[in-house]
Symmetry: D2
Amino acid sequence: MQKLPRDKNNDYTQDMAQQRRQVVTAETGAGLEHVGSFSFDPGVLPGNIENFSGVAQVPLGFAGPMLVNGEQAQGEYYVPMATSEGTLVASYSRGMRLTREAGGIKTTVIDDAMQRAPVFVFEDARAALRFGHWVEENFEAIKAKAEETTSSGKLRNIEQYAVAKMRWLRFNFTCGDAAGQNMVSKATRHACMWMIDQGIPGLENFTLAANFDTDKKHSFVNSLHTRGKRAVAEVTLPAKLVQDIMHTTPEDLFRQRQYSNMGAIMAGSVCNGAHYANGITAMFIACGQDVANVAESSAGFNYSEITPEGDYYFSTTIPSLVVATYGGGTGLPTQKECLDVLGCYGKGGVYKFAEIVAATVLCGELSLASAIVADEWVSSHDTFGRNRP
Amino acid sequence: MQKLPRDKNNDYTQDMAQQRRQVVTAETGAGLEHVGSFSFDPGVLPGNIENFSGVAQVPLGFAGPMLVNGEQAQGEYYVPMATSEGTLVASYSRGMRLTREAGGIKTTVIDDAMQRAPVFVFEDARAALRFGHWVEENFEAIKAKAEETTSSGKLRNIEQYAVAKMRWLRFNFTCGDAAGQNMVSKATRHACMWMIDQGIPGLENFTLAANFDTDKKHSFVNSLHTRGKRAVAEVTLPAKLVQDIMHTTPEDLFRQRQYSNMGAIMAGSVCNGAHYANGITAMFIACGQDVANVAESSAGFNYSEITPEGDYYFSTTIPSLVVATYGGGTGLPTQKECLDVLGCYGKGGVYKFAEIVAATVLCGELSLASAIVADEWVSSHDTFGRNRP
Amino acid sequence: MQKLPRDKNNDYTQDMAQQRRQVVTAETGAGLEHVGSFSFDPGVLPGNIENFSGVAQVPLGFAGPMLVNGEQAQGEYYVPMATSEGTLVASYSRGMRLTREAGGIKTTVIDDAMQRAPVFVFEDARAALRFGHWVEENFEAIKAKAEETTSSGKLRNIEQYAVAKMRWLRFNFTCGDAAGQNMVSKATRHACMWMIDQGIPGLENFTLAANFDTDKKHSFVNSLHTRGKRAVAEVTLPAKLVQDIMHTTPEDLFRQRQYSNMGAIMAGSVCNGAHYANGITAMFIACGQDVANVAESSAGFNYSEITPEGDYYFSTTIPSLVVATYGGGTGLPTQKECLDVLGCYGKGGVYKFAEIVAATVLCGELSLASAIVADEWVSSHDTFGRNRP
Amino acid sequence: MQKLPRDKNNDYTQDMAQQRRQVVTAETGAGLEHVGSFSFDPGVLPGNIENFSGVAQVPLGFAGPMLVNGEQAQGEYYVPMATSEGTLVASYSRGMRLTREAGGIKTTVIDDAMQRAPVFVFEDARAALRFGHWVEENFEAIKAKAEETTSSGKLRNIEQYAVAKMRWLRFNFTCGDAAGQNMVSKATRHACMWMIDQGIPGLENFTLAANFDTDKKHSFVNSLHTRGKRAVAEVTLPAKLVQDIMHTTPEDLFRQRQYSNMGAIMAGSVCNGAHYANGITAMFIACGQDVANVAESSAGFNYSEITPEGDYYFSTTIPSLVVATYGGGTGLPTQKECLDVLGCYGKGGVYKFAEIVAATVLCGELSLASAIVADEWVSSHDTFGRNRP
């Protein structure tokens, strides 16, 4: 097969995209008319993709309006969701109707950190331990050095994890409205290079990443110590609303929650909820997030209570919600439009966006749990999801 | 805010999509010109989305060509990847060049199962145990009943998990070329309804799902017993190639692997690899997969050895790769084109597609690990990922 | 330091024990009078220890009587507990009083299996997969071969787990009244040696254990698929009893359970209970079990409900309870006496013993949870646990 | 069955122990002669046990001598091990011979903390977050208050973990030479009572423990952040010694380590080693530790390398080693003798003891891994473990 054509001077053009499509079509026989249909100038794409050849057109619907009583997100929102899974938008919309009638969803971002975790290997555990002490004592200098490479990234603290003669330093940054993975890589590397220069006995090298960040996959360290935002959404649902809209009761929902807790504990699941990933993924695609972060962001914790009044307190906590409203794919044409619909694009929007995501996840959890309990799950998919074989 | 308009008779039209966009724009002030730019008739969308209003245009590039020596995938492939993360396509392409020069990637699908896991609650553990025995004894009848609702789904076996007075039945189906989540929901429910009718003492109800499937999130039960396909990709890289293309050595890559294994073990990570999710997500968006399944599909296991000849054996195993080449979003316009590029669309394509995904993941693992070891990671992102703040 | 003296002909004598104590005392200055005080003939010890030099005298108290309505354990029991932790026996006794007044504890052993899991490594994943199929097809022959080495061990089934080019076979045996770890090692090795002789392409060797058993440590595979016995204990407590004896209410206990579930889920704990290990360890030491199996046996699952009548349904499930009433340390003098107190020593006793352990664990869970909720935990330790510095 | 007799004035006497044995014998028919044989005055037992009736006599052997190059443990040690598992002492002794000839084991305690983790529940996540900030700001006052109840316990730091409207405070103390579980309970409760008095809005109550400590069970939070001591043992073994004593090679041991790593990762095991629990348990029983802490202490991490010279670097890291040389059962007659053999009893001994435990674990890991690789595992148990049925 041919190498794909590239233009070293200006690769982000209609012409180069077309040349690549032509090569692919010539070699495979596959038409690429739809892939080649897009509404923007490829010149906006450097930094977002290589070998640009067209677009995936992912169907997009709006769910809602959803009512949020957040610290940043206050009011009603149409939530953009890009998906090909029938029932999804309808199901989230149902949860939004329920929570809106209940007075809205309270949302709070309770933690914020993005990591890079280099590992340092020494002659023995003692040398690694001495290095750990040195890092504690020199935190301010390390922080100053790390922050030289970024205007928005701030080094918050460094966790240390040790095994054998190795020591991981888990650098925790806040990153403004960016997701920050590249920012923290660069800043951490810069600080590590400086450490190497300090003449610490036995320190000659480091490895910038070795699975303690942890990036693009779930880990307990992420759930415990937050990766991205830790966002909570809470609502209290009057029993009558649960009955009228969801055709079930707080008691039945609560019982299902107990079974689901035990199932999650025994199965070793990273989420005791039903399907955080569905809502998160649909919003991430629509809003220009790094969709691969669904890996971390799909972990989470549902917690509910029946109140003394017989109502249903329900909450979702997303411990590793990696989101951005600036940088990455947030400025791409359709993606920016969707962030604008939420009033989240750009500086100052990221906490608001995190809150809206958390509220959306809550709506989806309530809707799916109710459908299971009321035995409407399969029938609703028969109605809305007919594309199944 | 207004309710979004819906047409009960025919909601999948240009007009309805436009009406919804107009309402959203009117209420939020956000323009939706790009979202409203798509190249297909909304009439193809029932079963894929509700409240259709337009599309997310996700930039798409081709990586490769990649050489695969699979059981189904044999030959060279351009791999469609939809992403907004700079460096991603370039990095996977680098791994594809390396493995192609090494003779290609061997791929094998070693397991296949899609689940639904209802829970049954009894008076006590003994009644639950008796029910478990009944299920074992009546497997053939249950299987026959479950398969009444589907032509392609086959009930392979039922695992049982018990705690207290509860018993989960984890129904394992093969689903042909569909991902199968809806198929197995319907078939499992149908079989459970029949069980309820059999007059089993103490059995009056069931809950169709309670976190033992486990769907849209990672769990140990998924990693142990496969959800979707369990796919392995393997390659042996001559030391000289590693040096020439990746600027590192098998020994250095292997050492990094050891650190990464320890990091993953200590951090409690569901993947000891670097970034399975990046390649999987980009292919899932491009190829019409249920992208939320990145949650499960991002788990995995890297394993490597230095051969007696000093070369580098490297492998990736994806234990929960949820993929389809039929149904769901696979038939949407750009998505079908991308599956056609791989020659995977439709009946008979799903193992081939799983193999290509696994091979792609392997290329990304090799490329990122090499970049970290050779200290080219940050600099490559500075070159390709300039959209960062 | 001197080598410890050994008598190649007969090392299990008072004289040799004394000689070793004398050497240790001579080299370290430590007196060993108490260690040298034991009430039995060392001649009973071959197979239990090497370099025998005396005994650890662990204080032993009886808790109870405890009322059990098991399948095997029926009636009242004094439970022997060997411990040095003040409050422990008193706390378990309190739970036994509560459950006895509530009508006793229902116990059931719902699964039974002991494992050895050799790993087989092949040229590639395909060869490993072919081997897996061969094992399925030849299960009866493998079973017959494995059972040649044991009269009580029966090969129940073989689970398979695969990654890269490796395949673990997890042999599940039932072992009568023995714990069975050595029995299954020998039987599995024998079967594997036979497999090697069958001329399977690419199969030249195996490794008898590589962490998929998993022995002497917790794992998800153990919790999911049982190691030793899977034992459930259940009780329903009238609200008035909870108030009178525990000074709390079902509602408060249930609320504490909810918090503890969330704590366990977030912390990544292998047990959502409070202290299974306390009761299990004290019984294991008293009754001649392999105490190191506390590692597996300490995992478990509490599950509770408030009944429609306002009473408290509470249960404990121990998924990996490794116990024996024959072989190992069960026949040692004090240990056999303790098993005799329970009527469990020897053939036919192991399910009964497992049930009593599970019931005991349940009592301890109720007692500690109540103490925490009623704020009596610290004060009771001040009363009973004064040996703290 | 009769209630067990108790003397409210002085229950720790020969007479009362005998009375209880007589009741048990009368009710069950089981003789308790051996249980009633002990060499000390029951008057030493308050704070260690209730309903004292005699002792479990656990066979005790010495392994070694073992050569340790620790920070505290320096020189040769006979290691007391109480067990009924044949082969155990012999196997550890073999590892001690190997490591002694290799120049001894380097040991280091790299972290130290004992926890209690109360949970505080608020009206919503925001109130919980505000409380978290208050705790950070008032750490010094909280510390002063907590330390009022103890002379040796020092509050090091407080970790915070949050979900929904709950917040766990994980109090980390150093506890001198005590294990400290009771000490930290009392101190933490005292500090929490003080917090309640500070008029923090919405703070009316707390629960002293809810699974974030986590006590008597493994958890990821324990492995990540240390419970008790975090102890590392390291050794480098010349290839020739491995061959001569263990009948294998560094390469074969290393390959087995790779398989075991993958097995542990896939199985979801809390320890990638072979049998930490065996050595730890035997030492814990002999030396008066809280043996139930085997639950936490059995987790751990093996890490090995082949050095450029072809030798074998091997290490064990125990992240949650809960040990004491003062308080608890350490002062009991046989237990104190065993601690004296190691020169560890009392003030100042606990790090030394932790190092010796870690070194012992390392010896056991090397011995068992070698036996598996050299196929001597089953045969050695046939020789030494004949008590199996």
